[in-house]
Symmetry: C2
Subunit: 393 residues, 2 copies
């Protein structure tokens, strides 16, 4: 006789995203309050800190600040010296980087009631988040993102990952952090490209979800590239908020096939790879957005002037809308192959978000390669025209 | 000015545990119905099957049965030939075993809408479950446990893991399977030790949660060792049910420090390790239960005769209650060190479940080493007496 037992339960996930400046400054109580609220009267919780090598280099006082800040805390103790890992995509490609974090967790006996902190760009957060998620079946993970992109997008979400044999994000988990501290002061040391690159994700989420925000970004087209603090803080806050709202009300652990936040990303992932990661993620997204916006125009969802206004906005912000690889024969083929890989990574049926109109995305299950190539030609001509105008002015 | 965004959502988890025989027999519709209910009209889902090498060897028709069964299905297709992995703890110690599964997932393009099946003992299920959980941030995982222990305990739960530098279960995640198929017919090929070893987990959960079940096991003391099907099927079903109920109503992802289902396990984990895994997990648990039951008596929670009745039951079922390593000087020291390691793995304060009375467990935060050593001496004397009686009879 056949029998069945049914299992079912649900798990609540919650965490806060704090916006601050100078998180380790002596007078800043955000972190000490956080620890105090979660203190355990029976023992001191340990904190293992992993830091992005560029952050370490550009913020020479960070180590001293960390030591001083933790010396004054009663509820927690540093597990050991901060672990410095080479930042950028390279750390997600290097199995040794993952190993070194797991090893530190083992060596310093960092347990499930301890914390693993990550201070760095999106790549370091992805790597450290993954190491924390798999060690002891999950150690509490705190993120301190240090790039625009990680503060407004990757760092506030629920995913972590590393690459496997060059395949982007092949290994990873869905594991929410216990807290995110967006410390604006870290952004001061970003180079111009990284500063700008993070803006793409804001344009992305505005285009698919929030026309008001899109218009607001339009209005900041001069302030953002000249590194105006107020504009950037507001951009990060609103963009993070939209991402959080989407995750919460959507499909947080992506059990379905749809992934609206990946608007502009199917081609971006491929372009990053084709350029050997010379093109930054945010730059690739800028180009991917341009392609998908023109595509949305070609299938009749946007007017020509709407599409052009988006492409112009991207350009005026200082972001690229085109890359020569895309016009090479091999590049074109690879790009279209990227659609299949995108589908495989998400699983199931091909699902790509395009614009139904400005401020509203919609799932599509078929992408017409001819339109993609047409969009690329249009963008190539734009780029030419922009360059001509830049020379003239 | 500091700002905060609050994130919060919850995730529902549910899966069924089916009890059947001959899951791949042509007339058995359990699995084909399962696939049909979850079919996707747009594409065929892939199934990667990973099999325990002992199961592969002892069930020489399995491959043919699998091929025949899947040939007749319309909704899914085998991703590739079954992947056979050496069963037992060795597979959790071998990074290459993990790698070979991840590699197959990559090679056969097994995506998030595909399935990774594991057919085998608890070790293979832990390993394959882990590989599935980290690949593409989680591929649907189906378990077909083939030992008593994995059918009544490890295979029905939400955990997976591998060992790291000899540290048991150091890496892993909490990731529920999408289904479990407990196929009784696999158990026919278990050797005597493995057949008996799984009974320990039933005694464990009965002692801490269900006096009725404990008395029922008492009544099967002759049927179980002589491999009576009806008794074993019932034991597995009731034991699985109690485990499921505990997970559901407790702390499924173990965010606290308490882990009642680890009754008898703090010493068991250590003994497995000390014996170089020569002692099976279930055997070590039998001894661990005996230690903790005597300990519960020594602190006044059980009467002497209650404690002895448990020790006798374990012995009569054919399971050990003692191991000579425990009386060696080095063994004693190591055992007590095991308490600290147990605490570190769980994190936070030491929390060990002991018996408040038969059928009811309770958390304790201190373990007295002297009582432990006294319990071991008592059990050594028992074992001597049992051996003497066995010789006489
Ligand atoms: N988990 C997610 O949901 C998610 C979402 C989007 C992107 N991502 C990932 O995020 C990564 C990209 O993140 P990113 O854009 O932050 O880039 P990044 O992490 O690659 O960092 C770019 C460079 O900036 C350096 N850097 C970081 N902070 C700095 C600072 N304050 N000052 C000076 N230099 C600094 C880094 O060392 C690196 O060299 C990719 O790996 C991408 O896959 C993840
Ligand atoms: N995930 C959890 O919640 C959880 C809970 C308890 C135990 N476990 C783990 O489970 C593992 C122990 O599992 P186990 O007791 O099933 O032992 P096992 O998986 O180590 O298997 C024991 C032996 O039996 C063989 N075998 C398996 N099925 C067989 C069959 N039908 N016929 C003949 N031989 C067969 C295996 O190849 C192996 O050699 C340990 O690694 C333990 O840590 C996990
Ligand atoms: Zn992105
Ligand atoms: Zn066990």
């Amino acid at each position: 006789m056949e029998r069945v037992l049914k299992q079912g339960f649900n798990i609540d996930y919650s965490y806060n995203i704090y916006f601050t400046e100078g998180i380790f400054a002596p007078h800043n109580k955000l972190l000490s309050d956080f620890f105090q609220q979660r203190r355990n009267p029976d023992f001191k919780q340990k904190v293992l800190v992993v830091v992005d090598s560029s952050v370490w280099k550009h913020h020479p006082n960070l180590n001293q600040e960390l030591q001083d800040y933790f010396k004054d805390l009663n509820d927690v103790v540093l597990a050991g010296p901060p672990l410095v890992i080479t930042g950028g995509e390279v750390c997600k490609n290097d199995p040794q980087a993952l190993e070194s974090i797991v090893q530190a967790i083992d060596e310093y006996a960092v347990d499930r009631h301890s914390y693993v902190f990550a201070i760095g760009g999106g790549a370091i957060l992805d790597l450290v988040g993954y190491a924390a998620a798999i060690s002891h079946r999950g150690i509490r993970h705190v993120r301190i993102p240090t790039t625009v992109l990680s503060q407004n997008d990757s760092g506030v979400g629920v995913k972590n990952s590393v690459n496997y044999k060059g395949k982007k994000n092949f290994l990873g988990t869905f594991t929410p952090p216990v807290a995110v501290f967006n410390d604006y002061s870290f952004l001061a040391t970003l180079d111009k490209r990284s500063w700008l690159a993070g803006i793409s994700e804001a344009i992305k989420v505005a285009l698919i979800k929030d026309l008001d925000f899109y218009n607001w970004i339009q209005a900041q087209v001069e302030d953002l590239p000249r590194r105006d603090s107020q504009s950037m803080k507001e951009l990060i806050y609103r963009c993070a908020d939209l991402h959080l709202e989407h995750i919460r009300n959507g499909d947080p652990f992506e059990l379905g096939s749809s992934r609206p936040l990946d608007f502009g990303h199917w081609s971006a992932h491929k372009l990053e790879q084709l350029s050997n990661f010379e093109v930054l993620h945010g730059e690739a997204v800028a180009i991917g957005l341009a392609i998908d916006v023109i595509y949305s125009y070609l299938i009749g969802n946007l007017t020509e002037s709407e599409a052009l206004s988006v492409v112009n906005l991207i350009h005026q912000l200082g972001l690229p809308v085109y890359h020569p690889i895309l016009s090479e024969v091999e590049g074109k083929q690879q790009l279209l192959k990227g659609l299949t890989e995108f589908q495989e990574h998400l699983g199931g049926r091909l699902t790509v978000v395009l614009l139904e109109k400005l401020g509203k995305g919609r799932d599509y299950h078929h992408i017409d390669g001819d339109y993609v190539l047409q969009a690329i030609d249009i963008l190539r001509d734009f780029e030419k025209e922009y360059n001509r105008l830049d020379e003239v002015s």
